[in-house]
């Protein structure tokens, strides 16, 4: 068993760290403070570097990387700006990845290259005001009509909503069939009747233009259904399996940033004539932080590796997301404690890490939903009576 990274994975980490510190670092605080998106030239530069097509094949302009490498890219970006990490992971893993996995050759040819190069930014939207954890209860309707569908409804909390050009939208084509009646549609922002609603004023992830979306009589050609119309819910669940590796990596990035800031500070800050990091109370906190972060990383790489080897990884993906997100939250809380009062003011990024970390326990399935997934797997395995 070899747990070390390959030369190429190490080179990816080194260069993404360089990109994040040379380019993203100056924006991270600004995006958070002003709740504005990344400037277009940075988005373009990320396109040149293949950051919008991390796992997409080289033929359509992506980098064709394995999933461990994918996790490394998301971790390194999120260490500096979790909000940028969010945009990148959602675009890649829950928009481009399902398009490539379930799309027809025509759909891939039509949308793949622009997404993989970042000329178009993508999103994925299931959640509605009345449908959160219970995704099968969505009310957005798509009514078949000749060679097209007519889409009506409202979506909530759409990552990349304010900046995206293309969204995978879950809508019910047959409410009587509940989850079996849900289809995924490829919806373009330019379509008549598509409207971006309010941009959310959030606690964290403020550099992502998370928004509402409204559809009123949007005409969607039949060829824009992703996969079979009755498979939408299954596609969504499979998509979230991929997505959760990304969210876990994002959580790992936030936690790592907080831990490193705290460890550095703890050795510099002196009270009672010694670095506070040499007090056992503080070094034990750091020890816990480091151990949980490493455990998160290993759980993430295990899920990623299973995926790359074509093995089932749904439970492992839920486990790494559950663990990495709660670790991020815990680590940020401890980091803030180590910074004392300085952790509470906005001059330092620690309070931003803390605010950004919380959502990783909520989106792409809450921690409770992760436990439902893991628990169901345990029930399947042990409940034989």
């Amino acid at each position: 068993m070899d747990l070390s990274l390959s030369k190429s994975q190490l080179m990816i980490r080194k260069n993404m760290r360089k990109f994040a510190s040379e380019v993203l670092d100056e924006w991270a605080g600004v995006l958070d403070r002003d709740s504005t998106p990344l400037p277009a030239d940075v988005v373009r530069e990320m396109g040149r570097l293949n950051i919008w097509g991390i796992q997409a094949p080289a033929e359509i302009g992506g980098a064709g990387l394995d999933t461990v490498s994918y996790s490394i890219v998301i971790e390194e970006i999120s260490r500096v700006s979790a909000a940028v990490g969010l945009g990148v992971t959602v675009h890649n893993s829950v928009c481009l990845a399902p398009l490539l996995a379930f799309g027809t050759p025509e759909q891939i040819a039509r949308y793949g290259p622009d997404l993989a190069t970042g000329k178009k930014i993508g999103g994925f939207t299931v959640t509605e005001p009345q449908a959160g954890s219970d995704a099968s209860s969505i009310q957005t309707r798509a009514v078949p009509d000749g060679d097209h569908y007519v889409l009506n409804g409202q979506k909530a909390f759409v990552t990349n909503g304010g900046v995206g050009d293309l969204f995978l939208v879950a809508a019910s084509v047959d409410p009587a069939k509940k989850s079996k009646g849900i289809a995924i549609f490829i919806v373009e922002k330019s379509m008549e009747g598509f409207e971006v609603g309010k941009i959310e004023d959030m606690m964290g992830m403020r550099g992502n233009m998370v928004s509402e979306l409204f559809f009123s009589n949007v005409i969607i050609p039949r060829e824009n259904v992703l996969g079979r119309p009755e498979d939408g819910f299954r596609i969504s669940m499979k998509t979230l399996d991929i997505g959760r590796i990304g969210i876990a990596s994002q959580a790992l990035g936030i936690g790592t940033a907080a831990y490193e800031a705290a460890a550095t500070y703890a050795m510099e800050r002196k009270q009672f004539d010694r670095p506070i990091g040499t007090f056992q109370a503080v070094s034990f906190m750091l020890a816990d932080m480091k151990t949980h972060l490493d455990a998160s990383r290993l759980l993430i790489y295990r899920a990623a590796d299973l995926k790359d080897r074509g093995m089932p990884y749904s439970t492992e993906s839920a486990m790494c997301k559950l663990y990495a997100s709660s670790t991020a939250m815990q680590v940020c809380m401890q980091a803030l404690q180590i910074f004392g009062g300085y952790g509470y003011v906005k001059d330092l990024p620690v309070e931003r890490f803390f605010r950004d970390a919380k959502i990783t326990e909520i989106y792409e399935g809450t921690s409770e939903v992760m436990k439902i997934i893991i628990g169901n797997d345990i029930i399947r395995e042990f409940n034989r009576f």
């Binding site: 030369k7 190429s8 080179m11 990816i12 260069n15 360089k18 990109f19 040379e22 040149r48 570097l49 293949n50 950051i51 991390i54 080289a58 992506g62 980098a63 064709g64 990387l65 490498s69 890219v73």
Partner: protein, 263 residues
């Protein structure tokens, strides 16, 4: 099309390295091997000339077989071709013999217009090889380059010269030596990182570059290292008291005392 050769070296990352207090040698396990930082600037210079004028960029390194890692990295950044010059009989070469090996290997690569090296390597810090190479290859050496343009078979170069800029016109071929901060090294695309390990690296050995074994390696090297010592500095902290005049005087006095200010 211009042909550009970039000399790069694999070095231990001395910023992370731990030194053996007895021998003064680097504990190789304590650190990773990286591309020498100045050489990244040399490669960036070559790539930026290629971007503007079109060129074929060949990266060359002399070192043990595992030095091919820096060549893969050169491929990721955009080199067109990479050459590893490696032979057990080169082991122990000092900077003079390294220059002999590199110059002979470069001459085997065919006609070229520019050779670009880093100013110095962070392991030995001799800054010998680039300068010696210009002698061995009988061509001008230009340092401290601020702006570089090609004009026919000449280069027009603006370089830092003391406190001013000097603009010169010089005929090709020539050697450029690049120091830190001379340019901003590009970040490779992810796809190029993924593919760089699969690109072919040509190997040159003693048999390919010619000469007698006695001319190379420790046997051929006139330099003798007598002793390596570890120096360490610690930062001091001084709090100056008094009015602004007194404080300035105190700072000037301190700087003079340490021979930093000399007038």
């Amino acid at each position: 099309m211009l042909s550009i050769i970039v000399c790069i070296k694999q070095v231990p990352d001395t910023q992370k390295a731990v030194f053996d207090p007895k021998t003064g040698a680097i504990d190789r396990k304590s650190t990773d091997n990286i591309m020498n930082p100045d050489d990244l600037h040399a490669l960036e210079m070559a790539l930026s000339i290629r971007d503007r004028y079109g060129a074929r960029v060949t990266a060359i390194t002399m070192g043990p077989p595992q030095a091919d890692d820096v060549l893969s990295e050169a491929y990721a950044l955009g080199a067109d071709e990479c050459v590893l010059v490696s032979d057990p009989r080169f082991a122990g070469s000092d900077s003079l013999i390294t220059t002999r090996v590199l110059s002979r290997a470069i001459l085997r690569l065919g006609a070229f217009d520019l050779v670009i090296t880093g100013c110095e390597a962070i392991d030995g810090n001799t800054a010998h090889v680039g300068y010696q190479l210009s002698e061995f290859l009988s061509m001008p050496l230009i340092t401290q380059i601020h702006e570089f343009m090609i004009d026919g078979n000449h280069a027009i170069i603006e370089r830092l010269y003391g406190h001013e800029y000097q603009k010169i016109r010089v005929s090709l071929p020539l050697l450029l030596s690049m120091g830190k901060n001379s340019n901003r090294v590009r970040i490779p695309r992810l796809v190029d990182i993924k593919e760089c390990g699969e690109k072919p690296i040509s190997l040159m050995t003693l048999n390919d570059i010619g000469g007698e074994p006695g001319e190379y390696g420790a046997a051929g090297s006139p330099t003798v290292v007598i002793k390596t010592e570890i120096f360490s500095h610690t930062r001091g902290r001084a709090v100056l008291e008094g009015g602004i005049e007194e404080k300035v005087d105190a700072i000037v006095h301190m700087l003079k005392k340490q021979n930093i200010l000399r007038f």
